[in-house]
Structure formats: structure tokens, C-alpha cells
């Protein structure tokens, strides 16, 4: 059954699934009595019509690149890391600790330190589920879901009793030193003479996310470890027979995945809020699943899918602002994308496959 060319597998099938998901979303919008075409226009102008909109779109995309890469790395190794949400919130804790308690001389050093702490905390939160999967065969899906809830409880505890400044009303940490403020995307683009709106949260973390994309690509396709991860994901039995240590690979896959999820926090906590808020992740960990599925677990695909979801997020916010369509529309679209590009993949793949078989037979 290799009748399908590579491009069809990588581009055509996800694209058809995406179109189906969007058509159904359009029907949903119609069903709640709104005009899908007008809604789409509003979303496009709101998210892509100005550099202000682009700034928000790219800010959200930065989150989704990190979480999408995180899910992808685990997927490649045959593991479903559904705990991005918890790992990212722990990453936020790492960033907050780094920014609050270390006297950094310059924001650039602070960024490196905070990113390292974010990755460390995220990876640590993935470590226990990873160990239990590797050593005791506890299903990583269930344990990571449980760890999401444990993380939520832990974060409430930490914010309410430990990090909240005395006398403060809202459950958040103290503000970071203003000197640690990260350069905005507008500032960076101004250096090369591109005018870009500066009243949006897009910041230098976007560049780190892009570096992470290249890094994951290098890791997965240019190193021995990456090869082992992918081999393990394709066939556990064969890879063990070839001398790959399953415990080591499971641990590596989950630690890298957790670290990438955690690094999302430099964008939200250090780049935007400048303090640790309750629920700073806001579902980005789960969107990583949709992004990874749509991007076929490849960094290029993840990047494109992350920008698409960034657009949906910002566009959805604009919709909620100007129409009666609630923001939850985005969750419905997200669900449909996961459903059609992930779970119902075969619904599109099988007909496309037989179509190509038919075409080949026609040629022969």
C-alpha cells in the first residue's frame, strides 16, 4: 500500500481533514445564527489585518510551537504526552523562581537562566510519569492526566501560600524586576527597520521557539538519539532487538517533551505577564496536541499549525469582542481539528489511497 506519494501523505491528507473540520465549524456558526463568511472576514482582519493583530497571533503561536513540539517529540517515540498543561505550569513556576530570587545583571542572562529553569521544571514534572511508564508500565496517558490535576492543585497552593506577597489580593506572585522585561518583537524588528506595532505581547521568545524548531529537527533527524527515538516509536520490539534501551528512550522522550512544554512559560510568564498568574497556561498544553497532529509531528508542520492556531486564537478573541460568538468557538474548532486530523485520519486517508491506486492502475 505505498501507492500514495509522500507529498499526499504529508500535505494532502491533513489539508483535506482540515477543510472538513473548517466546513463543520462553519456549519456550527450557521447553527448558532451567525454568518460564517462574515465571521471569517472578521477573524482575518482582526488577526492578520494589522501588525497589532499579527503581534497577538505570533504571541499565541509561540506558545503553541513549544507545546506542539513537545507533543511531537513524544509522538515520534510512540508516547502520548497529554500532560503539557501541567508541565507548562510547572515551567512557569521555574521561570518565576528564577526571575524573583536571582539578581540577574541583564535580561539576556535572565532569559537564559529562566529558560533553563522552565525546561528543568517542565522536564521534572514529566519525569515521574516517564519513569512509571518505563519501569512499571503504567500508562503514560493516564499518569500525565493525573499530573495535570496534581499540578493545578500544587500551583494554587504555591501561589496562595508561598509566592503571593503579603497583603496582595489576587493569587499571583510579585512582579518581576522591570529590568528583566524581554524585548518586544516590535523593538527587534525596528532594529532592522521594519515598522511593527509595539502594543502587543509578541516578544523575543518567538525567536527561541524558532530555534527550538530547528533544534528538534536536528535532534530527530540528524542525531543517533533522534534515530533511536523514531525507531522506538515505529516498532518497540524491533528497536529493542536492535539494542535500543527502552527505559532510556522513554525517559529521554518524555524529559525532552516536558522540557519543551515548560519552556512555553518564558513567553507567557516572563514575556507577557511579568509575574506568575494562576492558570498561566490557559489550555495551550492541550492545543499542542492538535498542533502536533496537524503538523504530522514534524517541526515544519508544527510551525505552520502553530501559526494557524495562533490566528484562530487571536481571531476568536476578536470575534468574541465584536460579535455574540463566544470565544469557546475556538475550542470547538480545535476539537474538530483533533478529531479529523487525528482520530478519523483513516476516513480521509483510505479514499485518497484508493484514488492514487486507481490512478496508478490507469497508467500501467
Amino acid at each position: 500500500m505505498t501507492a500514495m506519494p509522500k507529498w499526499a501523505d504529508a500535505v494532502l491528507v491533513p489539508l483535506i481533514s482540515l477543510v472538513i473540520a473548517f466546513v463543520i465549524s462553519g456549519i456550527v456558526i450557521l447553527a448558532i445564527g451567525e454568518d460564517p463568511v462574515a465571521a471569517m472576514k472578521l477573524m482575518v482582519t482582526g488577526a492578520l489585518g494589522s501588525t497589532y493583530g499579527w503581534g497577538y497571533t505570533l504571541y499565541y503561536s509561540t506558545n503553541f510551537i513549544f507545546t506542539g513540539l513537545a507533543v511531537s517529540v513524544a509522538f515520534q517515540a510512540g508516547l502520548f504526552n497529554i500532560g503539557g498543561e501541567g508541565q507548562a505550569s510547572l515551567g512557569g513556576l521555574g521561570v518565576a523562581l528564577a526571575c524573583l530570587f536571582v539578581p540577574w545583571p541583564h535580561w539576556s542572562l535572565a532569559l537564559i537562566g529562566a529558560a533553563a529553569m522552565a525546561a528543568l521544571f517542565g522536564a521534572a514534572w514529566a519525569a515521574i510519569p516517564a519513569y512509571l511508564q518505563a519501569k512499571r508500565g503504567s500508562h503514560v496517558v493516564i499518569t500525565t492526566i493525573m499530573f495535570n490535576y496534581i499540578a493545578a492543585a500544587l500551583m494554587i497552593y504555591v501561589l496562595v501560600t508561598v509566592l503571593r506577597p503579603t497583603g496582595a489580593m489576587d493569587t499571583a506572585s510579585a512582579r518581576f524586576d522591570p529590568a528583566l522585561k524581554l524585548p518586544r518583537l516590535g523593538d527587534i524588528l525596528a532594529l532592522v527597520g521594519i515598522p511593527f506595532n509595539n502594543r502587543n505581547p509578541a516578544n523575543i521568545s518567538l525567536l527561541i521557539a524558532l530555534v527550538a524548531c530547528v533544534g528538534v529537527w536536528l535532534l530527530m533527524w540528524r542525531t543517533r538519539l533522534g534515530y533511536q527515538l523514531r525507531a522506538f516509536g515505529k516498532s518497540e520490539k524491533a528497536s529493542v532487538y536492535a539494542g535500543i534501551n527502552p527505559v532510556k528512550i522513554t525517559m529521554y522522550a518524555m524529559l525532552i517533551s516536558g522540557g519543551l512544554s515548560g519552556m512555553m512559560a518564558i513567553n507567557t510568564v516572563m514575556g507577557e505577564a511579568q509575574r506568575l498568574l494562576l492558570n498561566s497556561v490557559e489550555g495551550a498544553g492541550f492545543i499542542g496536541i492538535a498542533v502536533a497532529l496537524m503538523g504530522r509531528s514534524h517541526p515544519v508542520g508544527v510551525l505552520l499549525a502553530a501559526i494557524l492556531f495562533g490566528f484562530l486564537y487571536q481571531g476568536g478573541a476578536e470575534l468574541a469582542l465584536w460579535t455574540t460568538i463566544p470565544r469557546e468557538l475556538i475550542i470547538v474548532i480545535q476539537a474538530l481539528v483533533i478529531l479529523f486530523t487525528g482520530a478519523m485520519d483513516n476516513m480521509v486517508r483510505k479514499p485518497v489511497e484508493s484514488l492514487f491506486l486507481l490512478l496508478q492502475r490507469g497508467k500501467a
Partner: protein, 321 residues
């Protein structure tokens, strides 16, 4: 802690355990047939929403329950289509269903009622009232036994008793009927069932449908019994706690009753005592809230007995040709 307080906590344990029990049994049927279901949460949420909406509009609690079951069955159908017919990844399908329910309930709620995703509060015939069991008033003055019967056992809504009745019914269906034997076999070794000339697809779809009905009851009880109407994200992770209880119960109906009562008890204690002072140090309420999840991880790790899931769980069945 005096006796009256204990009775109150146990009373609220029963209430809080009921949705967990329905959902846990729902997951049990699905997973025993080899279809993993992490979409329990979404199905409960959808059922809670539609049951509250219909009960609010019609004023009939039982029409509400039917609507809840319908909503849950619809999502079960999607799960079946994705994971049985199209042989997709059952976990991913479950995730999609959770998001679908979470988004659609608010979207439709806002459209229908314009209350920011809530449904109008239910009163009177629109929600479940307590059922007083026979002689409750007569026995109540008797010390010790009186309060246990009158307050703990009597005075719950119909769905609570239905949930408890579902436990022996499920055990009977699974272990004493031909259908139950086949259902369990499909979860362990579908090829053998297929060889015997029984439709694997058919059995799995029926299991997923039973799961849908039970999740519908769980959601309906949440909106019509425990609360008086639907609120955004009102399931609050109960679907996942039910999943945790299912693992704790090692995929067995009677154990499921025990596990859900335990988790219900933890929730009741957490509600009653925000923090527990042990003299030397205080246990924060967040720890009590996280306890079901922590217990599940410990059980999964195999430190308290080994939980073995059905062998063919999570794998689509491909018939040989």
C-alpha cells in the same frame, strides 16, 4: 467530630459518589470491550448541559434525563465511529470529544439562554427531589440506627438509587450473561471472538452505547440532582476521577462502588474541612483535592496491587482477510 457531622459527611459522600459511579461503570463497559475512553468527562458535560436545557424548557426532569442520555450517546457514536469503524487512535478521539463538549456546551448555551453558558436555574419539577424511603420518619428517633437510615440511606434522589442498582446489574450482565462473556472476551482477545462467529464490531458498538447511556445518567444527575442547572465546565474533572476510580477498581463493578465511594468521601471531606489541622502541621485543602489523582498514580505504579487493564484495550480490531 461528632456523630451528626459524620452522618452529614457520609450523606454528601453518597451524593458526590453517584456521578462518579455512573461514569466509572460507563468506562468499565467500554474498556472491558477494549475501547479506551478518556472522553467520559466530555460526555458527562454534554449530558449535563442538554439535560439541564431540556428540563429548564419543558419543566420535566425525566425528559431532561432522556435528553442527557441522547447527548452522551451522540458523542459515544462519534467515539465509536472514530475508534471502531475508522480504527483511529482511541485516546485522541477521547481528547477531541472532551474539547467538543467543552466548546459546544458554552456555544449553544449562550445561543439558547444568553446567560454566558449557564442554563436557567431549575426549580420544582425541573430537578430531582429527595425520595423518602418507607418508615424513615418512624425510625428516625431511634438512636444511632435512626439517623443512619433516615438521613444516610433515605432522602436521596431517584438517580442515586439507580446508580447503586446499576452495580449488581452490571456485575450480572458482565459475569452471568452470554453478552457479558462476549464483551469481556472482545476486550481480551477479539480474534478468538471473531473466530467463534460473533461480531467484534457489534459487541464493541454495544459496549460504547452502554457507556453513553451511563455517562448520560452521570451528567444528568450532576445538573438535575447535585446542582440546579448547568454551569460552564461543571464536571470539573469528574470524568477523569471516574477513570482513576476505574483503574483503582481494577475494572470490576463491585470494586467500582468502593472506589467511587472513597473518592466521593475525599471530595466530601475536602468540601467540609478546607484545611485539616493535625496539630504539628496542617494539611492544605489543595492536597486533599489532589489526593484522588495521587492515589491513582500510586496504584498505577503498582505499589498497591497490580491493576491490569484488558489486554486488547486501545487496539482497533482488524479482521483478517
Amino acid at each position: 467530630m461528632d456523630f451528626a457531622t459524620l452522618i452529614q459527611i457520609l450523606d454528601s459522600t453518597v451524593r458526590l459518589a453517584t456521578p462518579l459511579l455512573f461514569a466509572c461503570l460507563a468506562g468499565l463497559f467500554s474498556e472491558r470491550a477494549g475501547v479506551f475512553d478518556i472522553g467520559l468527562e466530555g460526555k458527562m458535560l454534554a449530558a449535563a448541559f442538554l439535560s439541564a436545557s431540556v428540563a429548564a424548557v419543558t419543566g420535566s426532569v425525566w425528559l431532561g434525563v432522556l435528553a442527557g442520555i441522547f447527548a452522551s450517546l451522540l458523542l459515544s457514536g462519534i467515539h465509536g465511529l472514530a475508534s471502531i469503524t475508522f480504527r483511529g487512535n482511541q485516546l485522541i478521539s477521547g481528547v477531541a470529544i472532551n474539547f467538543l463538549a467543552s466548546g459546544l456546551t458554552v456555544l449553544l448555551g449562550q445561543k439558547w439562554f444568553g446567560l454566558g453558558g449557564r442554563t436557567p436555574p431549575l426549580t420544582g419539577e425541573g430537578r430531582f427531589g429527595p425520595i423518602t424511603l418507607p418508615f424513615a420518619d418512624a425510625i428516625a428517633p431511634i438512636p444511632f440506627l435512626g439517623p443512619i437510615y433516615a438521613e444516610l440511606i433515605s432522602g436521596h434522589s431517584a438517580l442515586v438509587y439507580l446508580a447503586v442498582a446499576c452495580v449488581p446489574a452490571s456485575a450480572w450482565l458482565l459475569y452471568r450473561t452470554r453478552f457479558g462473556l462476549r464483551l469481556r472476551a472482545v476486550g481480551e482477545n477479539p480474534a478468538a471472538v471473531d473466530t467463534a462467529g460473533v461480531s467484534v464490531i457489534g459487541i464493541r458498538y454495544s459496549a460504547v452505547a452502554i457507556c453513553g447511556v451511563l455517562c448520560g445518567l452521570a451528567g444528568a444527575y450532576l445538573a438535575l440532582g447535585l446542582a440546579a442547572g448547568f454551569g460552564k465546565e461543571m464536571t470539573a474533572g469528574r470524568g477523569f476521577i471516574a477513570l482513576a476510580a476505574l483503574i483503582f477498581a481494577k475494572w470490576r463493578p463491585w470494586y467500582a462502588l468502593g472506589a467511587t465511594l472513597l473518592f466521593g468521601f475525599l471530595e466530601a471531606v475536602g468540601n467540609r474541612f478546607p484545611s485539616i489541622d493535625l496539630g504539628l502541621f496542617a494539611i492544605p485543602s489543595q492536597f486533599v483535592q489532589a489526593l484522588p489523582y495521587i492515589i491513582t498514580v500510586v496504584i498505577l505504579a503498582g505499589f498497591i496491587g497490580k491493576a491490569r487493564p484488558p489486554s486488547a484495550g486501545g487496539e482497533p480490531y482488524v479482521k483478517e482477510r
